[in-house]
Every structure is written in C-alpha cells, then in structure tokens.
C-alpha cells in the first residue's frame, strides 16, 4: 500500500502557507543528520545558520542588503517565467546595468547634483534593457532560443566588464589594478540607517514587489502574461501578441536586473570591480520559483536564501564549517521547499480509493478542448 498523490479538486489554501513550514521542519531534520556526520553540534550549527545572522539590527540590515538584488530580479523574472519566456541570463543583464550605472557614476566623479543618483539608476536599467533587448530581438526576429542567447550573453557581459575595467574605467591612480575609482559621495545611494549599509535600493526593491503585484493581478498585461504562459494557443486566439509578451517580459526583467546592478555598484560596493555579482542573476531564478512566481512569495524566498548565505558565513566563522557545507545545506533546503509545494495541488492517500480523481480528469479534458478551439 504505497502512498499515492491524488490531485486536489482545488488548490489547498492552508497548504499554501503550511508547506514552507513543513519544508523547513524537514530541512531541520535532514540537516541534523548532515551536521552530525560533519561532527558539529546540530543545535549550534542551526543557530549559526538561522539565528545568529539576524540577532542584531546590523544583521537584519545586512540581510536586506543581500536580499535586495535577489528581490528585484526575482520579481521581474517571475513575470517572464509565467509567460513561458526563459530568461536565464539575468546575471549578464545585471553586469551590464552595473557597468552602465558605474560608468555614469565615474562620469560625474567629484561633481555634485541631485540628478546624479537617479541618472545612475536609469542608466543601469537601460544597460540591462539593452542586453535583454538583444535576446528579445534574436528571439522574435530570428527565432533564436532565449535560453542559449541569454546565457551566452552573460559570459560576454562578464568579459566586457573585465575588458573595460582593465582599460578606460580603471582608476588612474590605482597602480593599474583592475578597479575603478571609488565613486564620489554624490554617486552613492543614501544610507537609510546610520552605521549600517542599508541603502535606498532596499526601498526600491520593496516598491518593486508592490508594482509587480499590481501588474500581475490588476492589469491587462498581467492577465496576458498569465494566459500566454498557461495556454499560448488560447492567448493567440484572443489576439494577444506573442512577440509583444516576449519583448515586454524580457525588457522588464532586463531592466530590473540592470537596476539591481546599478544599485549594487552605487550601494554596498561603491566602485566598479571585475566581479560585481556573486551570481545573483542565477540565484534569482531559484528565488522566483521558490516564491511561486508571486511577488510576495519572491520577497520571502529572497530573504530566506539571503539568510542562508549569511548563515553560511557565520557557520564558517563560529564552527569552522567549510563553505561546501553551505552548498549542501542550501541544496537540501531548496529541495524540501520545492518538493513540499506538491501538497498545494495534491494530497497524499495511502488507500487505493480515489473518488476524487475523476473530477480533475474531466477538468483537464475540458481545459484541453478549450485550448483546441
């Protein structure tokens, strides 16, 4: 009598909230085993991962600093993923945004003006838009798959930043090291809480969550995105333009990633470096899905993933756990989070009786006929 998954007639409201809690509990159990194998006290390790990083105001602000790019990109990517547009090159769009934003900051070196910061952010978004625009153009004009083009362009972006930072953007007094000047104060994002690194970007990210929410639930575009993702045929039948959706979602995610890049360089980094992102563009893909492609979910997922990064650092410092353990731990956490979501749509039955299975079958057949029309 193996347990079987039975499709629910409608998604479980309770499980929407309960499944992440269940996932965390399962992670807890699995990681106790992991930490025992590693020879460290599980309670100490879990304390280091989840409690210690956020047990001070400074820690909380750092959590937000780390989560900011993940939120921005995660929200924007989830729009595209809903529409079935696979932009997996947000990393490159982020780098271009950092490059454009950073170059703007350097252009206004030692100048002051209220317009400098807005301009940096706009240029950053523009950089990301251009990079994503190439993907959209190749997709709509030449039918070139965006998974490949966006991914390959990420590598190109990293090399481009490297090239320029060894060249024209190099600090003239920097002994020919590949770093730009430190930006002037007028080009640095204002700090929201003295003594921490919490910067304006965090507010922008939260604002973005709100915009994403409204866009998805209250606008025609949001509706079109959802329809195109669920049933492209129906969408086209209704007269929605597929290429318009591709352009829109790619430019939005590119713009958001670019903005995140500009925020990183003019916020916590404060200059241009050869590496401005430790893979935020890729991590944000996970964030988007763990957040169930919903802006609020993305917010929580980004905070959770950010916490696991900070926790990994603390675990190294407090328990001498190698960074590899963080990877294994994050992997386990994500596995459980992703697997437990099954309980929203399905329930577990150990008996063979399945009176409820007929209904979804009928439902899906109705759905497929509506697609054919």
């Amino acid at each position: 009598m193996l347990p079987r998954l039975i499709k629910r007639q409608s998604p479980s409201k309770a499980m929407v909230y309960l499944s992440p809690i269940l996932a965390l509990l399962l992670t807890l159990l699995a990681s106790i085993v992991l930490f025992l194998i590693m020879g460290v006290s599980p309670s100490g390790a879990l304390h280091a991962f989840f409690v210690e990083p956020i047990s001070s105001i400074y820690g909380l602000t750092e959590l937000m600093v780390k989560a900011t790019p993940l939120i921005l990109i995660g929200v924007a990517l989830s729009l595209g993923f809903r529409a079935g547009v696979w932009n997996i090159g947000a990393e490159g769009q982020l780098i271009l945004g950092g490059l454009f934003g950073g170059a703007t900051a350097l252009f206004f070196y030692e100048k002051t003006g209220f317009y400098i910061i807005p301009l940096i952010l706009i240029m950053g978004a523009l950089g990301g838009i251009i990079w994503a625009g190439i993907v959209a153009f190749l997709k709509t004009r030449f039918n070139a798959n965006e998974i490949l083009t966006s991914l390959m362009l990420s590598y190109v972006a990293a090399l481009l930043l490297n090239l320029l930072i060894h060249g024209p953007l190099k600090d003239p007094d920097g002994f020919n090291f590949p770093e730009s000047r430190l930006f002037s104060d007028s080009a640095l994002l204002p700090i929201l809480y003295d003594g921490t690194r919490l910067h304006l970007g965090a507010v922008i990210a939260l604002f973005f969550v709100g915009i994403g929410w409204i866009l998805l639930s209250r606008t025609l575009l949001g509706y079109q995105i959802k329809v195109m993702g669920d049933a492209p045929a129906a969408g086209e039948h209704a007269g929605f333009s597929h290429s318009k959706i591709i352009w829109t979602t790619l430019l939005i995610s590119g713009g958001a990633a670019g903005l995140a890049g500009a925020i990183e360089v003019s916020g916590p980094i404060g200059q241009l470096l050869p590496n401005i992102s430790p893979g935020y563009g890729f991590a944000a893909i996970i964030v988007a899905y763990v957040g169930r492609l919903h802006p609020l979910g993305v917010l929580f997922a980004a905070l959770l993933l950010a916490l696991s990064y900070l926790g990994g650092e603390t675990a190294q410092m407090k328990l001498n756990l190698p960074v590899a353990v963080t990877g294994v731990f994050q992997g386990l956490l994500l596995f459980f989070l992703l697997a437990c979501d099954v309980l929203i749509q399905y329930k577990i039955r150990t008996s063979k009786k399945s009176e409820s299975t007929i209904a979804p079958a009928v439902k899906s057949s109705i759905k497929s006929t509506s697609e054919v029309k």
Partner: protein
C-alpha cells in the same frame, strides 16, 4: 599542417566533456524534462571518478563510478520533479548548488593527489599513419566512447521503438499515457541516462583532460552543455557540431593569442559564446523546423489521472 593537427587534437579533448554532458541532457529533454543541474552532476562525476581511480587504480571502474555518481544525482532530481512535481528549473539549479558543495566535501582528501591520466589507445599500424592516424586512431578510450554515444543515441532515437516512445512522451505526455506507456518511468530513465552521461563528462575532466581534482573544476562546462542542446535544436548530430564548434573556437582563440594577434584577450575569450549565438541565429531562422524538434511537453509536469 603540424600545428593544425595539434590544434585538432586539442579541440577533441576540449569538446569531449561537452559532448557527453550535452548528449545526456538531450535525451533527458527529449523525454520532456528540463534538468538545469548538469553542472552539479558533472562535478560529482569528476570527483567520484577521480577518487575511484585513486583507490581502485582502474580507469574502467572510475568511469562506471562516475556514471553512477551522475545518475545518483539525477535520481534526486528525478524523484523531486517526477514524484513530487517540483518545478524543474529551480530544482535543477538547486541540484547544481548541492553538487558543487557535496563534491567539495567528498573531495577534501583528493586535493594535491596526482594521477597520470587514462591511457591513450595506440592501435598498431593505423595509428602510425601520419595526420589521420594521429587524429583518428590515437585518442583515449573516452573520446571514442563519446563519438560512439553520438551514433548510439542517434540510432536509439530514430531507429528503435523505445526511442520513438521516448519522443512521444516528450511531445505529448497525455497521448503517450493514453496509449498505455508509463510516462514517469520513461522520464525517470531518461533523467538517469542524462545524469550518467554528465557524470562521464565530468570524469573526462578529472581523468583525462586535466587529471587532478580541484574544487569546482568543471568551471561552468555544464552550462555550456545545456546551451548546446538548445543550440542543436534537439538534434543529435547538431550536438556533435555544437560541441566541436564551441571547443574549436575556444582553442583557436588561444592559438591566435599565442601568435601574437593584437586583439584584447577578453574579446578573444568572447568568441566561442558569440559564435554559438551567431550560428544558432542562422540555423533557427526557419521557424517550422525548430518547432518540430523541440519536445512539446518540455518542462511541463505530468500527473497520471488514472
């Protein structure tokens, strides 16, 4: 001529790991499953293969061990996405994070350990033929295996009933299910195959390409392999083309640098990526042909309603 032959030999080693991993991913994707965890499976194959050769001394054992390692990673993925209906894209990415971490933990004692590399096969007489002998008949066994696998997968996909069923499952799981095929079982097997091939691809790095273990030594090749499947528009022989194109340009730009060509090295390093995009654009223009090849159910979850 001599340089050309030498360059071709280097290109073969650069293309082989990509070819293994991309072939495996192609079969996985043809069954309708998108596994973005290739990098994680490769890196596990690399360390397990290396540790196996270190302890057993046998390259054959090492290759099987790496397949097993890749397949075990793939099994985690398979259970999560097929049984628990987890989204495929993030689960694959999580698998990569997990694999990089786990390989580093497993490999702690293998750092600084030396290994000579798997032997090259020297077939008497024919391998002594100039040029042709050098290129075609004096490679290591894994290179031949990779080429053999291209034809084996091609044959399997196009000429066998099992291949037909696999494609049917990838194109329309509902129809395949209605015909009485076990969609989940077939997909799980395809996922396992993908993992085993990624494992060998990783082992090629740690056993032949640069026979040693260092953390994260796959250095992003799993991602390139993923891109190559898309590049190939899910056609087996185009995977071969893609792997050798990418490997080829990567090597030729190094040669161009050594010749002293005055182009910034960063621009040179961009070339393989740009060339891949360019060729994809050229071959993708014909919309209808691509549509026919892409598995229609790719990335979509399946739940049997009976």
């Amino acid at each position: 001529m001599e340089i050309l032959v030498a360059a071709i030999l280097t290109i073969i080693t650069a293309a082989t790991p990509l070819l293994f991993a991309a072939l495996g991913e192609l079969v996985t994707e043809k069954s309708g499953v998108l596994n973005l965890g290739v990098e994680g499976m490769m890196v596990m194959g690399a360390i397990v293969g290396f540790a196996a050769v270190h302890y057993s001394g046998s390259a054959t054992v090492a290759i099987f061990a790496s397949m097993l390692a890749g397949a075990s990673m793939a099994a985690i993925f398979g259970v999560l996405v097929l049984v628990f209906h987890a989204s495929q894209v993030p689960t694959g990415l999580a698998l990569t994070i997990f694999g990089i971490g786990l390989s580093a933990l497993v490999g702690q004692s293998m750092i600084g350990v030396a290994y000579d590399g798997i032997p090259q096969l020297h077939i008497p007489v024919i391998s002594d033929i100039p040029v042709i002998g050098e290129i075609f008949f004096s490679q290591d066994g894994l290179v031949y295996l990779s080429i053999f696998m291209v034809f084996a997968v091609m044959w399997f996909m196009n000429k066998t009933r099992a291949g037909l069923i696999l494609r049917a499952v990838g194109d329309s799981h509902d129809a395949a299910h209605a015909m009485g095929y076990s969609v989940l079982k077939i997909r799980f097997l395809a996922v396992l195959f993908g993992g085993a091939m990624a494992g060998v691809g990783g082992a090629y790095l740690s056993l032949a390409y640069s026979p040693l273990w260092v953390e994260q030594m796959t250095a992003g090749r799993g991602w390139i392999a993923l891109a190559l499947v898309v590049f190939a528009s899910w056609k087996v022989r185009r995977v071969l083309l893609g792997a050798y194109l990418f490997g080829g340009i990567s090597i030729l730009q190094l040669h161009a640098q050594a010749l002293g060509i005055a182009v910034p090295s960063q621009v040179m390093s961009m070339l393989p990526y740009l060339a891949t995009i360019l060729v994809l654009v050229i071959i993708s223009r014909d919309r209808s042909k691509i549509k026919l090849n892409a598995p229609a159910s790719l990335g979509k979850p399946f739940h049997a309603s009976r």
